[in-house]
Amino acid sequence: MKRIYVKEKWCLGCHLCEYECAYANSGIADMVKALKGKNICPRIKVEDGDGVHFAVNCRHCTDPICVKSCIAGALSREGDGMVSLDRDKCVGCYTCVMVCPYGAIMPAEDGKAAQKCMLCTDNQMNGEPNCVKHCPNGAIVFEDRG
């Protein structure tokens, strides 16, 4: 399946992807209206170290521990391999948040459920990941590596 991969060598740590993610999932057509004055809660987060930057989001693991740990059956692995979260089933226990080794699942903004990267299939971007589209240095790619 096509997954989002990050090339650490080219990640500049500009954090644009976080804002593009928050915008994509806001449900609001205008970016300013969506993000102005808000504390954003993106599904991709850039880790900054000493001269090293790396954007992290869901890896869509082949053997996802979050799916195994979900007590409500909200997390599942779809036919194409995407790890998907059903917000309506999520009870907000956050077990998945704690077990994800990448820190790629986090509480949603409203605090009532978890959220994770769904490869922009569940928002206004129609399956074209917005972080990939707007990365200024080609550091985030969407490709099938088998």
């Binding site: 060598k9 500009c14 954090h15 300013v32 240095n137």
Partner: protein
């Protein structure tokens, strides 16, 4: 009053606070530390005094909340003492130093490209549609004066000296590793390979990683002789002797020690952190005869398999100099006009020394034709070829091909802020700082270069077709295809063209 006076910045950052979402991308992307975030006010601020107007923040701002405008701060209006002239006096009174600048001459000298118009076919000769009929853009650079010799069986012997084949009459100008980054060099090298053209190492040597692009590489031998050794010469497709540079004729180069990193030091074969000085002259060249010795030394070293280029700056008597070069054994002459770029040059020299490439090119081509030695050499024009029309007009004036430097850098993201000499290029081009160099991803950079040259090729074909010409060879030196507009008789005679309407 102490040494320095406050000088109001030339440009101001204007932020539309209605649009700014305080994402701080501008702050993270500015190596000059212009932008800052105030957590108490939850607002972004900008320090205009640090801004070099490189537009990195403008381009990356996700809500397009930023723009940069010319400051309207002014001294009392004075047609003689304009603001910049006054500020330069203040700067020099404060520092006692030579003013430094980067990139090409920005002064409002006449641009002759814009005063020449191109012909097209009507009625009496057919124009050609390049989408339906062949339109050759390939050119060969090198000596064309092979004698006709036959072997004992009467068959023609191949006596043609080595040639460079270009799929489009465009090459990337000499820009050294050191003055530009590793990633910029990689972008140029990969683009040259894909396009079937050449890029030029400049005088900074050739990084070992780029030897694999050798067949698309022109290596330079300049007065500092940095990084010149056997493998360097043998790897290349051609060797260029740099006698001068359009942006700074008559003087050498100076790469500050801060740019001499480990890799630059190894490539240039000089100590790390020490300023790299290229002398003004080659210390072994004081005449055409001396030049001939170096040309033949380089040919001897590479078994006469590679064309040798001699690059000169366009200066007052360049036609006579070119005549000498054409007799020196060189295969190609590159002429760099006074609007050519640089990574650093003394401002006064960049802005006042040399002549426009259009006039130099025309006079050199005319002189070599008059002396019957035009076929001894190919001519490459450089020094601000900005578009496919500049390219076309240069060919019609007599060039075999053109070097593009500034246009190539623009396609890599350069916004002509002309601050290369400060080493903090926000676009990852004119810098050696690793965190800035990585901003230029060669995967993106080389594709943009390929697209630019491909676009120019299409336009060149379209315009040649309109003239009823189906190959660059047939356009070269075809000055009847050009007409001057608003030029004096003297200018027309130097350019060797007629006025529009004639």
């Amino acid at each position: 009053m102490n040494g320095t006076l406050f000088i109001y910045p030339d440009y101001e950052v204007v932020r539309d606070y209605d649009k700014c979402i305080a994402c701080r991308v501008c702050e993270r992307q500015c190596a000059n530390e212009v932008h800052s975030y105030d957590p108490d006010l939850k607002k972004m601020f900008a320090d205009n005094t640090k801004c070099v107007n490189c537009h990195r923040c403008v381009c990356l701002c996700p809500t397009h909340a930023l723009k940069i405008v010319k400051s309207d701060n002014t001294y009392k209006i004075n047609a003689n003492w304009d603001n910049q002239t006054i500020n330069e006096v203040y700067r020099q009174a404060g520092t006692g130093g030579v003013l430094l600048s980067s990139m090409g001459n920005p002064k409002p000298y006449p641009v002759y490209w814009d005063k020449m118009l191109v012909n097209a076919s009507q009625v009496t000769n057919p124009s050609i549609d390049p989408l339906r009929e062949p339109m050759e853009t390939a050119v060969y650079l090198g000596k064309k004066n092979a004698g006709i010799e036959r072997d004992e069986n009467g068959r023609l012997k191949d006596t043609l000296p080595p040639q460079l084949k270009l799929s489009v009459p465009v090459m990337f100008s000499a820009m050294s590793y050191g003055s530009i980054s590793y990633n910029a060099h990689e972008s140029l090298a990969r683009a040259a390979e894909e396009l079937g053209i050449y890029y030029n190492t400049g005088e900074g040597g050739l990084h070992k990683d780029f030897y694999k692009y050798g067949k698309n590489t022109i290596v330079q031998v300049a007065s500092g002789r940095f990084g010149v050794f056997k493998d360097y010469l043998e790897t290349a497709a051609a060797i260029e002797i740099k006698m001068g540079q359009g942006a700074k004729p008559g003087i050498g180069g100076h790469l500050p020690g801060s740019k001499i990193t480990d890799a630059v030091s190894t490539t240039r074969m000089i100590p790390k952190g020490v300023d790299a000085i290229s002398p003004a002259p080659h210390h072994d060249i004081y005449s055409i005869e001396d030049l001939r010795q170096l040309v033949y030394s380089l040919k001897e070293a590479t078994d006469y398999k590679k064309p040798v280029i001699v690059k000169i700056a366009a200066v007052h008597n360049c036609a006579a100099i070119a005549s000498g070069i054409a007799r020196s054994g060189a295969d190609i002459i590159a002429v760099d006009g006074f609007r050519g770029g640089t990574g650093a040059a003394p401002t006064r020299i960049r802005d006042n020394v040399g002549i426009p490439i259009e006039l130099a090119l025309a006079s050199i081509d005319t002189r070599l034709r008059e002396e019957g030695i035009r076929d001894n050499v190919s001519i490459v024009a450089a020094g601000s070829i900005r578009s496919s029309t500049d390219l076309l007009k240069a060919i019609a004036l007599g060039a075999d091909a053109c070097y593009i430097g500034t246009a190539a850098l623009l396609s890599l993201g350069c916004h002509l802020c002309r601050s290369c000499h400060q080493g903090k290029c926000n676009w990852g081009i004119a810098t050696q700082r690793p965190e800035l160099v990585k901003r230029l991803n060669p995967e993106i950079g080389y594709r943009r270069l390929v697209r630019l040259v491909t676009a120019w090729k299409h336009e060149l074909q379209e315009m040649m077709g309109g003239m009823g010409i189906n190959s660059v060879e047939a356009l070269r030196g075809n000055r009847l295809m050009l007409r001057g507009i608003g030029l004096t008789d003297r200018e027309l005679s130097v350019l060797g063209i007629r006025h529009a309407g004639e």
